[in-house]
Every structure is written in structure tokens, then in C-alpha cells.
Amino acid sequence: MASEAVAAADSVELAQLQRDAETFKRVHPLEYYRRFLSQQLRPDGRGLERFRDTSLSINPLATAHASALAKIGQTSVLCGIKAELAVPSLQTPGWGFVVTNVTFPPMCSASSRLGPPSEQAQALSRLMHGLVVGKQAASSTATAPSVPAPTTPLKSQSAQAGMAESNPADAGARGIVDLNELCITRGELCWCLYVDAVCLDDAGNSTDAALLAIVGALHALVLPAVTLDAASGKPGFNPSGNSTQLTLPATPFAATFSLFDGNAFTLADPTAEEEAMQSGAVTIVADVSSENPTLWTVHKPGGTPLSATALRQCISQAVERIKTLDALLQAELASQSTAME
């Protein structure tokens, strides 16, 4: 009897304490965080350098040519790719198009509202587009290409074979996708990939999740074979023909860190609450497939100043994280291909 009463009193006290903690968090959110961080812990139980559980599922959707759902903790981003036929632009007859977009529908967080895309969405779209197509094409594909006019007669493919292939992509930095691969008939027909990432739930660090989803979907992409109708010259899909998969020579992933309380603390993989209070952030995108990791971008859009040494530390942490993401993608692709067989 007596012990039960004590237990009941304890639970009442515990409830009181929890309520107090909740109030403290509301009134002094920063101080609340500082108390945790001084113990090298975060309110969600993670250490400062710990990323949340990450998962990737390939092709969850039937309506897109390829899709991938990336989840980092509660944050989930769904990327779908639709491929359409288009006519290459005059400046780049040997290239296809890729249009990359990241959207945050009003559903995904309490702060995003209806209306034109937010600053965050625009910046993220720009960043992702740059990574997907590389530096050279970034300016030439900013606008959506024209849809092929059905009346344009298409010449036979053999006539194009002898044409000298000047490859401007060699001169510049490559992206994830080699735009040359998207060309079907030089100057006549090419693929236009619409890569759309939709944030379903924004619980912080949507950058990492968006890139993971985009990379996953690109790896899952299978382009159907295209045949030209001899009479009308109209392109059509040939379901029995050889479908192609993109080569994708490199696969970069992102790791984001949040600078907290000046630059006193560096938190890996910030949650939405942490993002709201952070004093700066660094996103590191790198490819670790070769022995020597290649940095694709180190993006620090302002915020608290950071020394080069601190930045170096972030990069080495990021490289470790990206290795696990790379393994995750490989495992998912392997399980996908065994499922297919």
C-alpha cells in the first residue's frame, strides 16, 4: 500500500517535472538547448555528431518513370522523375535537358504557406540543379525546353554519326547526369528529365534528404527505347526495345551541420527546432566512390564565421556520413535488382 502511494507521488512529481521542462522549453528555447548541449547531448537523445536514422526506398511510385523516397528521421522527401521527348536547343545540339525542382508544399511544415516558392525552396532547387547538371549546363537549362513540334521530320540517325562531337561538358565540371547521354538524335531529339523532389514532411535537414532522393531516383531511372515512325517521323516508345539506364559516373551525397550558439556547438543533421534556432549552417556535398573524396560543394550561406580548422573537422565528419549513405544506396539498389529477378 505504502509503496504504491510513494510510486503514485513519484509519478505525480515526474509529470510535474515534465510539465516544467515543457514550459522551460517554450519560454527559453535557446537556454533549454544549451543545457542539453553542455552535456554533449541533444533533446532527442542524439549525440552532437549523430545523424538520424536514414532510409531510402526505390521506386515506390508507379506514376513516375523513376522515384525514390528518402527519410532522415521524420523528414521525408519524395523524388519523382518524368522523362519527356524534346528538341535539343541550338546552342547544345548534343545535350538533353534536366529540370530540377524542389518544392515544399504547404503541408510539410506549419511555417510554409501558400503562394510562390519560398526562398528556401528556390535556393535548394538551385543547389540541386547545379549538382545534377554540373556547372556548364547550369545556365543553359534554366528554362524549360520547347516541346517537339510533331511536324518536324526526323532525319535518319546514321546521318548524324559522322558529325564531330564537340563536347563542352569535358571542359567544365560534370554533374551527376551526363547530358550527352540524354541525346537520342543529335540536334533532333533528346530526353528532357523533370526531376521533382517534393518534401512531404519537413522535420529539419531537407537538403540531405532531397539529394538522397534525387540520387536514388536517378539510379532507378530506366529510359524506354525510342523508335521513329517511318511514315510520319514521329517518335514513339518501343516497349520491346532495349531500355537504357544512365551511367551516372559519380554519386554525391550531402551532409549538413548546424552551428549553434555562435559557433560553440556543431550539430550534425539538425532537426526543424534546431534549424529555427541555429546561427549558421554548412552543407557539404561530396562523392566518396574513389579513394580520395571529391568535394562537390561546400555551401555555407552566411551565418556565424567559422575557422578553416572547424570546417576541416566538418568535412571529415561529412565524409564518414557520406560513406554510410553510399552503402545505403548500394544496398537498396542490390535488393531492388534481386527483387526484379
Binding site: 556547372k135 565540371a173 573524396p293 578553416a308
Partner: protein, 227 residues
């Protein structure tokens, strides 16, 4: 050493020029040029702020990035966001709570390294407006170019022109604050190894120190004149 198309050394910046207080109606203004690349910035504030944007404990920083011609596009909005986020940590925002500080950057001409020029111009205009700041920003752009004939190594060029920028395999822009020379802003395009990245930072840091020295000189001259 291979010189560049315009006769500069690889680690040489273009001639800088700063004009202070060029606009009569703005609280502060400055025009910053790196030879042909030039940006004009006007600063208004601390001034009244729209109640929806008012912050109780600090000033609201608003930025506008105007392209040379036409309407602002996605890229310009992204530049706007970058400017705001890069300037916020150096402005002492708590000194003027519940006010707005508006920074308007007008591109005069883009011949490469535009963002760096815009950042430099904005930080000079903020000084001209007398906005309390904890440090001054100095920004520098660097470009890695593919190997020239006869050498196998990629070349690092400071302050690239537009032509060099299009030929580059990677471009990096950095902004440093003046007190500890720490990195406020970093953005890179194209692939770099970790060592290349830090080498770029090192070179940019040295160049930024020169930019900063020039800014100081220019300010000293301006104030000695007015006395």
C-alpha cells in the same frame, strides 16, 4: 608562371575602386568595382519596419539584388538570400531592435566574380551608412581552370573574369570577416579535392586581406578629406 589573357598573374586581383556616398538620398551607398565588374549598393536604415517583419530583440535585415537588366529571377533571389545571410552575422543587430536595415544591390556590370563584388560593395555601403558592425566582410572569388598547354596541373586563378569563369572547372566564392579572418560565406561549384579546397581558402584568405587593406585605405582617405 603563365600569365592570364588580361596580363595578370594567377594570384593577382583586378584593380579595385571604391566610391563612397554616391547616392544623395540613401543613408549610405558605395560603388565597388573590380575593373569591369561593378556593383552599386544603397543602404537605408535603421528605419521603420513592417510589423509583420519586426523582430523584438534585433534589427531586421532586408536585401534586394537587382540584375543589370530585366526583372529579378530565381538566381537573383538566391543572391538576395546569400547577401542577407552573409551580412547578418557582421551587423550588430541587437543595437537597433525593432528596426529594418535595407540593403539594395544594383548590378552595374558583370565580368565575373559578381557575388564577391556585391558583398564587398554592400559591406562598404553599410559602413558609409554608419550601421554598427562587428566586422567588415571581404569577399573573393577563385576559379580552377583546366591545365594550360604543357602543364598537367589545374591552375587556380583569383578574381576570374567572365571568360575565365566559363572556362573554369570549378568556382569558389568566399567571404571572410575582418577580425579573425574566419569564413562567413562559402560556396563552390564543380568538383574539388579536400586539399584543393583548403588551398583555395588559403589563397582567398590572403587575397581578402588585400581587399580589406584597400577598403581601409579608401576609408581613411575619405575621412581625411572631409576633415
Amino acid at each position: 608562371m603563365v600569365t592570364r589573357a588580361d596580363g595578370r598573374m594567377p594570384n593577382q586581383l583586378r584593380e579595385l575602386s571604391i566610391e563612397h556616398a554616391v547616392l544623395s538620398r540613401a543613408d549610405g551607398s558605395s560603388r565597388f568595382s573590380q575593373r569591369d565588374t561593378s556593383a552599386l549598393t544603397a543602404v537605408y536604415g535603421p528605419a521603420e519596419v513592417k510589423s509583420s517583419k519586426e523582430l523584438l530583440d534585433k534589427a531586421t535585415v532586408q536585401t534586394v539584388f537587382r540584375p543589370k537588366t530585366g526583372l529579378a529571377g530565381v538566381d537573383d533571389h538566391v543572391c538576395e538570400a546569400i547577401l542577407r545571410q552573409a551580412l547578418e552575422p557582421v551587423i550588430q543587430r541587437t543595437a537597433n531592435p525593432r528596426t529594418s536595415i535595407t540593403v539594395i544591390v544594383q548590378v552595374m556590370h558583370d565580368d565575373g566574380a559578381l557575388l564577391a563584388c556585391a558583398l564587398n560593395s554592400a559591406s562598404m555601403a553599410l559602413i558609409d551608412a554608419g550601421v554598427p558592425m562587428s566586422a567588415v566582410l571581404a569577399a573573393v572569388t577563385c576559379a580552377w581552370l583546366p591545365a594550360a598547354d604543357g602543364s598537367s596541373e589545374r591552375r587556380l586563378l583569383l578574381d576570374p573574369t567572365l571568360e575565365e569563369q566559363t572556362a573554369a572547372t570549378s568556382i569558389a566564392t568566399f567571404a571572410f570577416e575582418s577580425t579573425n579572418q574566419e569564413i562567413v560565406f562559402s560556396s563552390t561549384e564543380g568538383q574539388l579535392t579536400v586539399d584543393e579546397y583548403f588551398y583555395t581558402i588559403e589563397m582567398a584568405q590572403k587575397a581578402a586581406a588585400n581587399v580589406l587593406a584597400f577598403m581601409r585605405l579608401s576609408l581613411e582617405r575619405k575621412f581625411s578629406k572631409s576633415v
